[in-house]
Symmetry: C2
Subunit: 227 residues, 2 copies
DNA sequence: GTCCAGAAAATTGTTGACATTTTACAAAAT
DNA sequence: ATTTTGTAAAATGTCAACAATTTTCTGGAC
């Protein structure tokens, strides 16, 4: 059923995926005996899986009471988005320095595809859809920074996903987002790390403002100066 | 002996501290029976503590073989320092927006103390000493961003500490670092988040270059433009 | 001396039983 | 009716024994 070799590892993978998928929403109780029974194993490996998730901060535990899927208060959202802005801005800088011409060209093609096959036409659908995800994902990978990749794609992924349903569906945001993507790629093509980082941060900061108050975001620092 | 209520929690705290202090260096084997015996408990809680550390990525585990303190290859160092630059730059930006005048004044006094009581005189001692640590710590706290504080003070702390002994002791770096600290505070006093973030990133980037090749770092982007 | 079984030892993985604590429920008092 | 209190039930914490795997050791063949 799963790849992990030990029962504890398999339980961990199963549980992590279930939490990320939303099968276990925030605050949901993780009942050891129920989980053990549903996995057909004993409580030992289940407890170890829960402990690992606790270390990852996906679940919170109260001694003698139990473990629950980590809760997220609204103020956490702003905190997380600032972290994402900082990390993904850095990732975009590094990607601009490290991605090959061919890779950047692929990125450009990706945007062209979105424009062609109704990405823009479908309006509000472009922003924060699989296409948007793929765009960000590729740039993060292009940073060649393992820690950055891990933090953005693994550690923050669950948190961003939990809040996704709140994300702005404001009219016109899709078009803006698409334009911002193009700005990012333009800076990368020009091999201008400062501009690329600034463009990515502007994009993400607009998303933050858009989510926070469903309003037109005010402009923010556009780029890092050369020297 | 320890605050945690359950044996597993106490074992976790003890082990985490031991790893951070360096009592268990990278690659060190974590023997379940030996640890259980030294704690006077059974293997169950010890395994749970190790699983939690695994989730925190402080230890690496190979099924049926065992757990070791996480190893750090040299390329990890550069990756981590880039992450720190991004996160602490953002922290400095937010601190500039959110710290009170009194708090910023305290920060300034802290630097004055360092200058007076031999911080500068002792030369190479100023850079990356407790004083340097306190300076960075206060700014991070000033960001009022719980995620940022957690990532910098908890998650990255061990990694940065492990590599500390490698850090540059180059002549003159101390004086430079002190000056860079003053640049940061100056920007914060002026309530210029762009300049503050840029100054902090310059400071950290110089440290990165200094560590990497023990050479005079070249200047990097100095500040974020206003609009 | 080196290499290759194969057994023995040591280590990790898993389980079921028991201990402890919390929670749920019901009866009694106000 | 509400609160309180005590008991029962359920959940978590811990342990010791057993199972499975890896590692080490030993003996022998070449």
């Amino acid at each position: 059923m799963f790849s992990g070799r030990t029962l504890a590892d398999r339980a961990f993978e199963w549980l992590e995926e279930a939490i990320i998928k939303g099968d276990y929403p925030p605050e949901a109780k993780l009942d050891e005996v129920a989980l053990a029974k549903s996995f057909g194993i004993s409580r030992g490996p289940v407890r170890e899986a829960i402990r690992r998730l606790e270390g990852k901060k996906l679940v919170e535990r109260v001694p003698h009471v139990g473990a629950r899927v980590a809760a997220l208060n609204p103020s956490d959202l702003a905190d997380i988005l600032s972290v994402r802005e900082a990390l993904e801005g850095m990732a975009c800088r590094l990607a601009t320095e490290r991605m090959s011409d061919a890779e950047i060209k692929e990125l450009e093609n990706l945007l062209d595809q979105h424009a062609d096959q109704g990405g823009l036409k479908s309006g509000a659908n472009y922003y924060q859809n699989p296409g948007d995800y793929d765009f960000h994902f590729r740039i993060i990978q292009g940073s060649r920074n393992a820690k950055l990749i891990e933090m953005l794609c693994n550690d923050l992924y669950y948190l961003l996903r939990v809040y996704r349903y709140r994300s702005s569906s404001r009219k016109g945001r899709a078009k803006e987002a698409f334009q911002e993507h193009q700005d990012v790629v333009a800076a990368m093509k020009a091999r201008d790390p400062d501009a690329a980082e600034a463009a990515m941060r502007t994009h993400l900061h607009h998303a933050l403002l858009s989510i926070q108050n469903e309003q037109v975001p005010l402009p923010r620092p556009k780029r890092l100066q050369k020297a």
